[in-house]
Structure formats: structure tokens, C-alpha cells
Amino acid sequence: MSQLPPLSNTGFLRWIWRQLTSMKTALVLLFLLALASVPGSIYPQRGVDPIKVRDYIANNPSWGPTLDRFGFFEVYSSPWFSAIYLLLFISLIGCVVPRVGVHFRAMRSAPPAAPKLLDRLAGTRTFTTDKDPAEVLNVAANALRQRKWRVVMGPQGAASWVAAEKGYLRETGNLVFHLALLFVLVAIAIGGLFGWKGNVIVREGSSFSDTLTQYDAWGGGRYTDAQDLPPFSFTLDKFTVDFERGVAQRGAPRAFEAEMSYKTDPSAPSQRALVEVNEPLVIGGAKVFLVGHGYAPIVTVTDKFGVQIFNDAVPFLPQDGMFTSTGVVKIPDSTPRLGLQALFLPTAALDEIRGPHSTFPGPDDPALFMSAWKGDLGLDSGTPQSVYRIVTDKMSKIGLGQLKIGESWKLPDGSGTVTFVGFKRWASFQIASDPGKELALVFVTLSILGLSLSLFIRRRRVWVKVATLDGVTVIQLAGIMRTSTFDDEDIGALSEDLDGVEQALMAAEVIRGNLEEER
């Protein structure tokens, strides 16, 4: 094997750069990007559903943590995924930016002179003429100019030529497409750095005001000022849902409507709005989207003396399409402290295999199944508590109960009575601000335009040449495609271009006849 010559440092860097910006590298990086995207559709992703990720790791203790370590639950922000697309974009810059200069000069420069021997080109047409070469070439040049070709005339004389080129927009489109993609990435980054989004559950009749503490979950970019959120507030006045009752797709949602009243800031007048799934509410640079809903059973608890110690509608989280919902009720004002772990079933059913579950998402026959606990709820420990779970390690079970609306359950140990008063609905909203999205839309639109130009425009050259052959003045027409790949249809289009010039020459009566026929 031959020894490679030693490379200097700059030589090595140049070699790296050339490799990186080669088309083959771009191809390999595109394949890698496609391949690297796949795990994100297989494993649950933190950005989409953090609870699923937690459950997945808990259920797969052997390899869950390893997958986590290598970023399989945050594929699209993992170092390896980022490395691929950053390399791809560097390769894109290295490939496209130099071509901008080249193309700019090409657009300003004249098409090159006709080659010496046009007859070597496929599809060359040769005619004879009696006219002056300058006249012939003027006719051809004017015909080409009329058809929006860029035209250059050769030097004056007995043998001269016209060169024309068309379809510069192909490369322009190609460059616009690639550069616009780069700016789409920038717009995404702006959204990521300055945008924010939060989620909140609001019960019917309750209000929300846009401050950090009111969110159930909130995330902002590095440069988002969390203390300076737009000062709007809203109240969920009424939430209406409708489900499919027919046999097919029974229980599928058919309509969600949230009737809201909102204020853009505390001193502004209250306005009303109807928020639906495809109809977000736009306030103060943010959008309020309706993303989910559920039930909040209203529970009252009285202590052994008959004094009411709890009365509230507690949001439960739906676990399936039929809205079998789980939740907890924590009663801090009782001694010892009471906690209820409960299932809310909008249309209750009970069987051996599935236990208590709901058979329809609408509240046809609501029931509450619960287990009551007493002891240490952990409220004094200082660690943040989930409002949807009770840690029962330091508690003891009192008993199991089931209630329909209006029924009460006297706790077996006599410590109090639980009443299932009714339910409210709740709606969950995603509130988001993405200052990059308009920019992203502008550039993605540009990129589609550029892409279409680069795929549909044919770049080609045409020459018309006048020369004297054996005492006969002949006109030659020829053309070439200026793209790396072309097919019969492209050749056909080029042939039509030549037809156009030929017809113009015919119309001006400069063509005497066909050279072949005259011979």
C-alpha cells in the first residue's frame, strides 16, 4: 500500500473541510438524521410525556437507566442527534455559501461563446441563408430576448454567433431553499430561547391568572423572563363536551367547548370568548389552547362531631378513553389526618377482571370508589407533594367505600363521613408563546418556493451560429441542458426552444432551406 504524504495542519483542516462539505458526506448525514429520529418514535419522550418515561424506566430497571443515560428519552435534544444536524448544517453552509458567490457572478456574466463545432452537439439544426450574417443573428437574438433569454452577440463579421442562456432561477431556487432551511433553524432556536409554555388545569367556575405560581407545569427558554409574563387572567365559566353514542367509535369525543371570560390585564374590561380545540384564544402575545379535560368530583367530609372539614371539587386524571379517572383527596384539617385514594367513574361498571371501570366517557351513571387512609400525609415534611398521589407509607387503611351522587359513607373507624356531592368538569390549557414561529413560517414558505424553482426550472443554453461552408452561408442552431441529470422530456423542452428560434428565422424569411436537402 502506498504511503499517504504527510499533511500539514492547515492541509489537514482543509482536507476535513472538503470531506465535510462533499455531497457524499451530506448524504451520509441525511441517512444518519433519518435513522437517529427513529428511537424517538419508539421510546416515550420527556418533552411529550414525562410520566410515561418515568414509568418506562421503573418497568425496565435493567436497561431503562442505560437508555436514559444515552438520551433515548430525549432523543431530539440529545448530544448525538444535535451533533448530526449541526454537522449537516455546517456541511450545508460549506456547500451552499461558496455557491452563492459563484452563482451571483454567473448571473452577471455573459453566456460563453459558441463552441467551434456546433454539429457535435445532439439535435443541431443547419440551414442555409442568403442574408447578411448580422441580420440573421439580430433576428435570432431578438427572438430569444423576447422569450426572456439572456443573450450575448459575438463579434461582428462574416462568421459570428449569438449565445443565450435561461433558467438561472434553478440555482437561485436551490440556494434559497438551502439558506431558508438554515433560517428556519434560527427561528426554531429563537422560539426555544425566548419562548415559553405552561400547562394548567382549571375547574369550571375557577380562574387563572398568568403568573408562574399558578401553573401546574411551566417551562421557558434561557432568555425568557419568567417574572414578566403577560398579565392576563381568565375564568372557565362553562365547559361542554359531547361524545359519540353510536356503535362505531363509541365514546370518541365529538365536541369540546370552553366558555371563558378573560381580561388582558387586571384593569382591563372583561371579555368573553369560546375556546375550542382548533380555536385558541390569543391574549397578550400568548395563545391559550384547549388540550384536555376531565372530571373533578365534589367531595365533602365531616368529622365525628358533624363539623364540615372539607368541601371541594378535586380534579381527577383520566386513565383511559372512557374516563376512568384517578385522584386523591387530602384532608389536612382532620386529626389524625385523612386521605382518600379514589376512582371516579362517569359511567360506572364493575367486573371480576377489570374491577371498577367506566364504560362511557359521559356522566351517565357516576360513581366514586375509594379507599380511606389515616396517619401522616407528609404535608409537614417540607418536600413538594403531588396533588394526585398519596404516599401511604406512614398511614393505615381505614376501609373501602363506594358512592353514587348524593350518598354518604361513614368511615368504619368512626372518624368521619364522606359525601359524594356531585362533580364539576375541568379543562386543561396549554398556554404558549413562541416568538420564532412567524419567522419560521416565512422561511419555510421561502424554502418551498425555492425548492419548487430548483426542481421545475430547466437551465439550458442555446447558440445560433452563422458561418460560410464551401461558399454557402449556413445557420446552425444548437443547445445543451445545464443540469447534472435530465431526461427525454427535458431534451424535448430544449428542442421546443430551438423550434421557437427556427420559427422566428422562418418568419423573418432569412432561412433559404435545409443544408442536407440542398446537398
Binding site: L30, G40, Q249, L441, F456, T485
Partner: protein
């Protein structure tokens, strides 16, 4: 007209269309089997052999021209099937009082319509009668799966689908389904033909009846050059819709992820077409891989992954 009779008529039209397509399939198959041999073309290839001597090989390529009459019958039947299928899809839309793209059954019958439509329209510009068999078979399979596995009675939409973006986004995606399928068919055939050409023997039953590999590749390229910007548009329209419905324009939902993968693979195809050494079989294989990614998005994601796009309406 009562809603039930509209639904019944839609189903009737689709079953009739399938019946006619079976006829078209037999006609195309007959045209294939009954092809006539055309006079041989002579291809001269020059290779530089050992020691720098040029070896000139003369290969006589005889071409079998698929039977004209049977192919014409196939095309006519395909147009009839297309009309029936169109009627079926339109009636379904009238019955449901919305664009007929609310569940997998409706996506599938429209996708079948699109494949057939793209093929028949392309055939009016370039002679593609030889391709008929390879179009009719996937269309019939799609329709078969649609009427047996995917059929659903549901008329109404889930709230997330109630948007005019449904029409824009889904229409673009379905037309792409047609073009991608066609491109995969020509790409696949180009591989078969290329193998035969490399062996210097194109007398095989299939290879003798299809155009040469270069022309098949050009057709693939043309179809994908049309489909790729449209797919880009479909994905962007989906993103705009997602922003409106879910509060983010891109969230790496499995459907979005596979739409992205499909886009990247076809982008790779276009790059391969202008990279030396990749234009031929490698590009064709990438075109088929893109179609596989599209199918994964269409069927796989609906059945395997939990996605915001679970509108299949299957199994409920």
C-alpha cells in the same frame, strides 16, 4: 335521499370499482403475457480489458412490447374504476357532510383514488401502459384492506379534526401517497431491469416487458421531483395546523417524526440523484426506502405507537 342509502351507494361504488379493477388487472396481466417481440436493438459497450486493450461487446437486446389491445382495455377499465372510486369517495363525503378524510378507511380509499389518478394522468402525457399491473395491484390491496379491516361507520369527526386544515393538509398528503407509490414501483422495476441489463440478458419475463433502467430512473425522478415539494408543503401545513390545535408547531409526535424521516429520506434521494456514483441503483433503493418510511407513517404509527394522530377509528 336518506343518509343510509348514501352510505350504501358509496360502498356499492367502491365494491364495483374493485370489481372493475380486478378486470383491469387481468387485462394488464394478459397484455404482459401476450407481448410480442420487437426487432432487436444492438447495444455496443466498450470496456478496457487487461493490458489496456479495448474489449467491444455487442449485445443484442430484444424487446418485448406488451400487448397493445389488452393494455388499452386495462387503461379503459382503470378509468372506469377511477370514476367509480371517485363517486364512492364523493358520496362518502356527502353522507358524512364533510371532507371524507376522517379515519383510516376514508384515508385509504382516497389514497387508492390518488394512486390511480396520478397514474392515469401521467399516462396521458407519457405512455405508461406497461406500468399498469404494478399500479392496479397496490390499489386493489389498499382497497381490500380498507373495506375489510379499516371500514368504519362513524360519520362525525373528533374535535381536533374539525378544521379547514384537514382539507389542505390531508389532500396534499394523499396526493403524495399516490406519487410515492408510483415512484416506488418505477424504482423497483428499474432495479430488476438494471440487473438484467448488467447480465446482458433482458429476455426475462419481467425485464423484457419494461423500459430500460435509465428511463425508469428518469420517471422515478420526475415523479419525486413533483412529490417532494408537495410533501414539504403537506408537512408544513400539518405544522401550522398543529400550532393551532395543540399549541406547538412541532412536537416530535410519532406521526410528525415519521413525516420528518420520510422527508429526509426523499431529500437524500434528490441529493443522490446529483451525486456521482449514486444516481443509479442506490438512488432507486433510497426511493423505495422513502416509500417504506411513508407506509410506516401511514399504517405503522396508527397501529403501533400512541400518537396524537390516532384517528384511525379502527377496532372501536
Amino acid at each position: 335521499m336518506s343518509p343510509e342509502s348514501l352510505a350504501r351507494m358509496s360502498n356499492m361504488a367502491i365494491y364495483s370499482s374493485m370489481l372493475v379493477l380486478v378486470g383491469a388487472m387481468f387485462a394488464f396481466a394478459a397484455s404482459f403475457a401476450g407481448g410480442r417481440r420487437k426487432p432487436a436493438d444492438v447495444v455496443v459497450t466498450t470496456e478496457v480489458g487487461a493490458g489496456g486493450t479495448a474489449v467491444i461487446t455487442r449485445t443484442e437486446l430484444s424487446v418485448v412490447e406488451p400487448g397493445r389491445r389488452a393494455a388499452n382495455i386495462g387503461i379503459s377499465l382503470s378509468w372506469l374504476a377511477f370514476a367509480l372510486l371517485l363517486a364512492g369517495v364523493v358520496l362518502r363525503g356527502i353522507w358524512a357532510e364533510r371532507a371524507p378524510w376522517g379515519n383510516m378507511y376514508e384515508f385509504s380509499i382516497t389514497a387508492a383514488l390518488s394512486v390511480l389518478g396520478v397514474y392515469l394522468l401521467a399516462n396521458t402525457r407519457v405512455d405508461l401502459r406497461w406500468l399498469g399491473l404494478f399500479v392496479v395491484i397496490p390499489v386493489l390491496l389498499t382497497l381490500g384492506v380498507a373495506v375489510t379491516v379499516l371500514y368504519t361507520e362513524a360519520a362525525q369527526l373528533v374535535p381536533a379534526l374539525k378544521s379547514y386544515w384537514l382539507v389542505i393538509h390531508v389532500f396534499a398528503a394523499i396526493v403524495c401517497a399516490g406519487a410515492f407509490t408510483l415512484a416506488a414501483a418505477t424504482a423497483g422495476l428499474s432495479l430488476v431491469r438494471d440487473r438484467a441489463e448488467k447480465r446482458g440478458n433482458v429476455e426475462g419475463f419481467l425485464s423484457a416487458r419494461i423500459p430500460d433502467a435509465e428511463r425508469l430512473r428518469a420517471l422515478t425522478n420526475k415523479t419525486l421531483a413533483f412529490a417532494f415539494p408537495l410533501w414539504t408543503f403537506a408537512v408544513v401545513a400539518g405544522a401550522i395546523w398543529a400550532e393551532n390545535a395543540w399549541g406547538r408547531y412541532w412536537g416530535w409526535d410519532p406521526k410528525e417524526t415519521w413525516a420528518f424521516i420520510t422527508w429526509v429520506v426523499y431529500a437524500a434521494y434528490l441529493h443522490a440523484r446529483s451525486t456521482a456514483g449514486w444516481r443509479g441503483n442506490k438512488a432507486s433503493i433510497i426511493a423505495i426506502a422513502g416509500w417504506a418510511a411513508f407506509l410506516m407513517n401511514y399504517f405503522g404509527v396508527n397501529f403501533l405507537a400512541s400518537s396524537l394522530h390516532s384517528y384511525a377509528g379502527v377496532g372501536s
